[in-house]
Amino acid sequence: MKYFTSWPAGLPGRPIKTTAMKQFLVFIRKEFFHVFRDRRTLLIMFGLPLVQIVLFGYALTSEVKNITLTVIDNSRDENSRQLVNKIRSSSYFVVDESSIDYNDVLAAFRKGSAKCALIFPAGFGNDLLHQGKAQIQILTDGSDPNTAKTVVNYISSITTAYQQEISRQRPLKYLIIPEPRMLYNEEGNGSLNFIPGVMALVLMIVCTALTSVSVVREKETGTMEILLVSPFKPLLVLIAKAVPYLILSLLNIIMILLLAVFVLNVTIKGSIILLFLESMLFIITCLSFGLMISNTTNSQQTALLLSMMGLMIPTMIFTGFMFPLENMPKIFQLISNLVPSRWYFLIIKAVMLKGLGFKYIWKETLVLLAMTLILLTIALKKFKTRLS
């Protein structure tokens, strides 16, 4: 592995005509070679956001669909049949009426062959007609509370609609007509939250991991000493390591944006330049974080475990794009303020999806800037003390 792709200053054989800048570029070039030779890592670096966007865009949804509903109709009258048909024709349920009785529901739940059951008592239609009210019973499998609640909601609203149909009612004389408008999402995409979310998540983890490993690897193989003996300031050594990842990450962002625009039909509402500038800032924040991590250990394994396994779940949660932050315990909300990706997420949402300008996000930008400076200072200080 050649470390110097041009003749280093000071060695005999070639005239010493290089400037510090040229030397620095040589350095950066070496780092680029390191990075580009590792095809697999590059593949994953770009593949990660790709896969996530596809998954979030097309596969994952917190909506509930295709639920198998077991119906036990003990009455089998006109009304119960009507209601069942109404349920069947909704897109949420797949109605299963293979006859089992109440006692089998438990076993069916245990087996996983049913997720919910709707039970009509005998005389359902009669009660409705003569007493003006009747009962139905919904049994849900509580091991999946989300589906359970949703099932009840859906059935309730279908039932309410049915009630209105069969009640002899005069049409309302005066009608309020609500006209809902979906802001920022006229295309009607399921949820756009995830695009800035994926950007934040991938950048945070990938940049941090790559930078920290890059530095630690030199320490581990002992080549760090060679670098430090060279005529470069330590700061430049670190910067040179970070530059290729900065560029790759920007390319990554371009890819994500292209995907969002051309595959998911999202319009980028705000200024693309602002988007890139903020992204650059965030990338630098993550790179600084990676540098800081690299100071805490001399083993690649630790650096990797910390920056990937360790960061994965906290980043997913505290960025706030998967689960609403406002529902979390207060202490989590406080912690989330310390996580850079959370701020980046807000910024990107505002700029890309809402089309807002800098005056709306200057606060968040300031926070990121502050974090970057703090992280860089800590990283550098520790780096220098380790040298001595």
Binding site: A59, A134, R170, Q301, A350
Partner: protein, 369 residues
């Protein structure tokens, strides 16, 4: 066999001397089991609403009061103009804007119809749908109650719904999430750590030292996998205990079933880790590849979102991962007390996975190249 004994001795010593690994193995379950269930929740609590009331009439105030009283919404602002109200949405302070036009009451009475503008921040689709629905429900209720409409009402036939939520009466999310997190723990240990460990040897060149000895392939592989299997089972037990101590969750079904599954699942995941190690040259690559698959597993396995709700192609992919199956089973056994017979098919799947993954990995690993 003796050789395996020596190998295991060495591996165990090396693992337990490594402080990082130990920390990871014990800190991780604790942290994840505590963070994830607390953080994951799907409820939509209060929707932040900004109202622009151009009418200031009795009708409009009543509507606003009704909305406020419904408990679904939190009125964060009464704005003077739509533009002002939108500002709240832009700064994430409001999710929905309701605009009541001037002449609301008068138009309703006189012309029998009145459009009402609702603007919903649709970036978070779920929240938007739910918020929108709530608002529509409240409005339509209000509609029926307006004095002009209220007379001449016949009593509606009422269908009363009773609901029983079995195995989890209060529909608490932690019952759904905690067992799945246990599976996640096993996945991280089985998949990540074993891959990392083997690749580390590859990177350092110590594998060559092994290749040159009479240690057989199966001995080497077992020597690598068994310690992590043991660690995985320990962490799993630790996780179960934490789940019980912190969340009060103890399996309703048979512990034996659960452990049987955990055991075979670990074997499958370890095989996966081994497979990764045969395709990667250094720790960074191994970690990245493992991370890549881990993300897919986590997202597709039903940990966060239901598998049934996915489109058909996604469901097929989800079912091709062992994670999905174990998560399904552990929820069934822990919460519903499903018996082994109920989940027998899933066990067969896991055995299949274990076989394929390990077989593939062993085939790849060669002592001589």
């Amino acid at each position: 066999m003796k050789v395996l004994g020596y190998l295991l001795q060495k591996e165990f010593k090396q693992i337990f001397r490594d402080k990082t690994i130990l920390a990871m193995m014990f800190a991780m379950p604790t942290i994840q089991l505590i963070i994830l269930p607390l953080a994951m929740n799907f409820d939509v609590k209060r929707i932040n609403l900004a109202v622009v009331d151009h009418d200031h009439s009795t009708y409009s105030s009543r509507l606003i009061n009704k909305i406020n009283a419904s408990g679904y919404f939190r009125l964060v602002a009464g704005a003077a103009s739509f533009g002002e109200a939108i500002r709240y949405v832009e700064t994430e302070k409001a999710d929905v804007v309701l605009e009541i036009p001037q002449g609301f009451e008068r138009n309703l009475v006189r012309e029998g119809q009145q459009p009402l503008g609702i603007s919903v921040d649709a970036i978070n689709g779920t929240k938007a749908a739910i918020g929108g629905n709530y608002l529509l429900t409240v409005i339509s209720d209000y509609n029926r109650e307006i004095p002009v409409n209220a007379n001449g009402f016949t009593k509606m036939n009422e269908i009363e719904i009773t609901w029983s939520n079995w195995f989890n009466p209060l529909a608490e999310y932690r019952f759904y999430i905690v067992p799945a997190v246990l599976v996640l723990l096993l996945t991280l240990i089985g998949g990540f750590m074993s891959a990392l460990n083997i690749v580390r040897e590859k990177e350092a060149g110590t594998i060559e030292q092994i290749n040159v000895t009479p240690i057989k392939k199966w001995q080497f592989i077992s020597g690598k996998l068994i310690p992590f299997w043991v660690v995985g089972m320990i962490v799993f037990t630790l996780g179960l205990l934490i789940a019980w101590a912190v969340y009060g969750i103890w399996p309703v079904g048979s512990l034996l079933t659960i452990y049987a599954f955990a055991a075979i699942y670990l074997v499958a995941l370890l095989g996966f880790g081994l497979l990764i190690s045969t395709y990667t040259e250094n720790q960074l690559q191994a970690m990245f590849v493992a991370f890549f698959f881990m993300m897919i597993f986590m997202l597709m396995s039903g940990l966060f979102t239901a598998v049934d709700s996915m489109p058909r192609w996604a469901r097929i992919v989800a079912n091709l991962t062992p994670v999905t199956h174990f998560i399904k089973v552990i929820r069934m056994v822990v919460l519903k007390g499903s018996s082994f017979a109920d989940v027998g098919l899933e066990f067969a799947y896991l055995v299949g996975f274990a076989g394929v993954l390990n077989g593939w990995a062993i085939f790849n690993y060669r002592k001589t190249s």
